[in-house]
């Protein structure tokens, strides 16, 4: 244990040297390869103890001390945290390429013709050609990204959803209850705060691809129940067909979704002058048109969804007096519109 902590600390020091020090002028191919091997080691440590609170705390404490001593030696030093260890290799590469003291001969090694990648790809066997490989992969993605594909999902969104689910799986394996999973989901949501819509898409894609009995789905749905704003955001931003898919697959989502739609319906009032339903407030408002599109999309998706919604809406209409006059009950007008649309198709 002590040895491992010492090794991690040494690697962090190595990263600092690679980024800030002129010691790199003496580096050669062998030094380079050895440095990359240490970064692979760190990434493994991170993966192994990510969800182990005791060991993680140990490592974090050591990191704090290392950061402190390094910031004294290197004035421009940026402190590393535990999660940074997961991308150690990238940090080394980034640091080296920005270090003006790195000899051009070493740079040439990094950009040389790459050797054949190991199957995993995330850990390079050899420093030679690493940058060349990375550029090749990124460029290839861009080139292929231009080809028209009939499938709905972009490969990057698919991969992001896959990786997300893989990590969630790991969390669930380490903790028997949902606490760890909820923490995980919360932290990811926090991390995406400037781009919540993106995370909505990831959640949507994950729920769409996994089966309903998967414990990961159950965890996500439980978590969504507590995140009203986020859930509403999902219903706003995701494509209707995807939402309908999810509602069809997961009863839990169906219920949450229909609750959101009902909430939106309650925020619409009938404007007698213009003879139309308009939203009450200007913020996050959903128009009558938009609302009906949601309902119609769900009804078209499956018979069971249609039956469910019609039952719900009928019950609500009944609770408001069961009138058949336009403008009196939103539920009545919604139902009318839905019937009309369904009859048309």
């Amino acid at each position: 244990m002590e040895a491992m902590v010492k090794n991690v600390s040494s690697t962090v020091e190595l990263l600092a040297v690679a980024t800030h020090s002129d010691a790199v002028t003496r580096w050669d191919e062998e030094t380079l390869s050895r440095a990359f091997h240490w970064t692979i080691y760190c990434e493994h440590i991170h993966a192994r103890f990510h969800y182990n609170p005791v060991i993680r705390k140990l490592l974090e404490r050591q990191l704090e001390m290392t950061n402190e001593s390094l910031s004294i030696v290197f004035p421009n030093y940026t402190a590393l945290c535990f999660t940074d260890l997961s991308r150690c290799q990238n940090l080394l590469l980034d640091g080296l390429l920005r270090n003006t003291h790195l000899p051009i001969s070493v740079m040439k090694i990094l950009f040389d013709k790459p050797k054949h990648l190991s199957n995993n790809g995330s850990s390079f066997e050899d420093a030679k050609g690493i940058c060349s490989s990375i550029i090749e992969t990124k460029s290839a993605c861009k080139v292929l990204g231009n080809v028209n594909r009939p499938s709905a999902l972009c490969p990057d969104a698919e991969v992001q959803a896959e990786l997300f689910m893989e990590k969630l799986d790991l969390v669930l394996k380490q903790n028997s209850d949902n606490y760890g999973a909820n923490q995980f989901l919360d932290s990811v949501l926090r991390g995406c705060d400037k781009d919540e819509e993106h995370f909505c898409a990831i959640i949507g894609s994950s729920l769409q691809t996994e089966s309903t009995m998967d414990p990961k789905c159950m965890v996500i749905l439980d978590w969504l129940k507590q995140k009203h704003n986020f859930l509403e955001g999902m219903c706003h931003s995701l494509p209707l067909s995807l939402l309908a898919d999810m509602a069809e697959k997961h009863l839990g989502f169906r219920d949450m979704y229909s609750d959101v739609l009902k909430k939106w319906a309650k925020e619409i009032e009938y404007d007698i002058n213009n003879r139309e339903w308009t939203p009450v407030s200007k913020n996050h408002s959903v128009s009558f048109q938009n609302l009906t599109q949601h309902f119609v999309s769900l009804c078209k998706a499956s018979i069971s969804l249609r039956n469910f919604l019609e039952t719900e809406l009928q019950a609500l209409k009944f609770s408001e007096g069961d009138f058949d006059v336009r403008g009196l009950s939103i539920w009545e007008d919604l139902l009318k519109y839905i019937f009309k649309e369904m009859a048309r198709s």
Binding site: T83, R87, N90, L97, I104, V143, N146
Partner: protein, 549 residues
């Protein structure tokens, strides 16, 4: 396509890159960088080859100019051009273009900058390379940071996923008859193939490229772009792309020049072997091992025969042979080496029978000697080596079959023995002896059928022959083939008129259900005797068996 670092003798006049040329390319790359649509991408892929040549020229030029200041003076637009080219993904995806681009950048770097311009150039080179490697798109990376996934792993997974989805889509064939004016899945496939042009050197893309090559050709529209086929061909011949065998075969189907190259390579090998005895010994050893593993494989036997006859022809054409023939076949029994290698065309037809009798006798003696000693002592079995050589010289077996058609019961034995030995060199459980008995019996029946002129052949002879031809559990498997070959040989070479021969052949073959096999034997005879006077007869017989071919 190799990356030469510099010209040995810089000849600036020839290697000079003109300002105009660079300007033209700069304008082109500017357009590529600025417009992002299907047409542009097609354009880039079409010009990749010429761009590569230009980059090569540029790199050589930069390397023979004294220093960076000089380069910048001669080609002021160079920085702009390289800078823009680095951001065109089609250029950086292709291994060769990318390497050339980097070499140009290294050429702009000065180990000891002598002025501000060179120092700036150094900074610029580092900056570009750093950006190319570490620049990331924000959305994905924010999420990946939280999930603890390094960028390199993420990009690789996205690439693999994209390739897999494209491969799935490429495997769907077009079910509607394609209309040139309407779009269908074939258009997607063509677009995919064009997008793969810069990726022919990317090992991850090999599977998709293989799938594209093997996609069944169902559409009237050209499904794969010509430039794509050419790019794959080049990459494959330069060993920059590894393809599975079915994909290589599909490549040959798409590109005649690729097939030509592969065939020429194969044909040049006997020539090479004739010049270097040691090489032939290696090749022959490969054949030997293959034969031991695949005794009954007819294609292999045919290959060995063709190779050996090509080799013999080359050796015969050599004016002075420094190495004796024996050196090429050190393990073959000396007594049969030259007699086997000699071609039938090298002696008069009348001498064939004596020659074959003598060959058969020698081989039989070898066999009997070894069998008396209870098998081979030591590593080399003379019988195996003799048989191996016979495989290489199976033209004599063909001659034996021909002569058997005109043999008498008194002189057919040595020839029948040779035929049997060819198919069955070992005598495990006296199988060869049994086989010989069966084959002789068959020969007698066939002989009677073809010589009993006038009187209708007795029905039961047909019946017996058909029974002999049909595979039975007790008989070793080559028996039907030997008998079929005998039958066909008689049909071709006997003096009976065509109608009579055809009738006999058809009757026997139909009864034993071996019509296709007989047609095959006739086809190979057709090819082998294409210059022979009997060719029309052979063709007629084959057509009688398979009327629609």
């Amino acid at each position: 396509m190799s990356d030469t670092v510099s010209l040995q003798t810089p000849d600036l006049s020839e290697a000079a890159v003109t300002v105009q040329e660079l300007q033209r390319w700069l304008d082109t790359v500017k357009t590529w960088d600025q417009t992002d649509n299907m047409e542009t991408h097609k354009d880039i892929c079409r010009h990749l080859r010429t761009l590569r040549d230009f980059l090569h020229k540029l790199q050589a030029y930069i390397n023979c100019v004294k220093n960076t200041t000089e380069v910048m003076r001669k080609l002021p637009l160079l920085g702009q051009f390289l800078g823009r080219a680095c951001w065109v993904p089609h250029i950086t995806a292709d291994a060769t273009s990318r390497a050339l681009l980097f070499h140009c950048l290294w050429g702009m770097y000065s180990e000891e900058p002598e002025n501000a311009l060179e120092a700036k150039a150094n900074q610029w080179v580092r900056k570009i390379l750093c950006q190319l490697t570490t620049d990331e798109e924000d959305t994905a990376q924010t999420l990946m940071k939280h999930l603890g996934v390094p960028p390199a792993e993420y990009h690789l997974r996205v690439l693999r996923k994209t390739l897999a989805r494209l491969e799935e889509h490429a495997e769907k064939t077009c079910t509607i008859t394609c209309d040139l004016n309407r779009s269908c899945p074939c258009d997607d496939v063509q677009a995919t193939s064009e997008a793969c042009i810069p990726l022919v050197t990317c090992p991850e893309a090999a599977s998709l490229i293989g799938a594209l090559l093997q996609r069944p050709f169902t559409s009237v529209k050209a499904p794969l772009s010509e430039d794509f086929i050419h790019a794959v061909d080049c990459a494959y011949s330069c060993k920059l792309l590894l393809l599975e065998e079915p994909a290589v075969i599909s490549l040959w189907w798409h590109s005649v020049s690729s097939l030509e190259e592969a065939t020429l390579t194969l044909m040049e090998q006997p020539k090479a072997c004739a010049q270097h005895c040691s090489m032939f010994l290696v090749v022959n050893d490969i054949f030997r091992c293959a034969l031991k593993q695949m005794e009954g494989n007819y294609s292999l036997k045919h290959l060995i025969k063709t190779f050996t006859s090509c080799l013999y022809r080359e050796l015969s054409m050599q004016e002075q042979r420094s190495v004796p023939l024996k050196a090429y076949f050190p393990q073959a029994p000396a007594c049969v080496l030259l007699p086997l290698l000699t071609q039938p065309s090298e002696m008069p037809e009348e001498a064939w029978r004596n020659h074959l009798n003598w060959l058969s006798g020698s081989l039989r003696r070898l066999v009997e000697e070894e069998e008396d000693r209870d098998g081979a002592n030591g590593a080399v079995s003379l019988v195996f080596e003799a048989w191996f050589l016979l495989i290489g010289c199976s033209h004599w077996v063909d001659v034996a079959l021909q002569l058997l058609a005109s043999s008498k019961p008194t002189d057919c034995d040595p020839l029948l023995w040779l035929l049997t030995f060819y198919h069955h060199p070992t005598n495990r459980g006296h199988h060869r002896d049994q086989l010989l008995v069966v084959v002789r019996e068959a020969w007698l029946h066939v002989h009677c059928l073809f010589t009993a002129v006038g009187a209708p052949p007795p029905g039961d002879r047909y019946h017996i022959l058909a029974a002999l031809l049909s595979p039975q559990p007790q008989l070793p498997s080559p028996a039907p083939l030997s008998i079929l070959q005998l039958l066909v040989s008689f049909a071709v070479f006997s003096p009976l008129p065509l109608s009579g021969s055809t009738e006999i052949l058809l009757t026997v073959v139909e009864r034993s259900g071996l019509t296709d096999e007989a047609a095959c034997v006739l086809s190979s005879l057709e090819i082998r005797l294409s210059a022979h006077g009997l060719l029309p007869r052979i063709t007629a017989l084959r057509q009688a068996l398979a009327p629609n071919t």
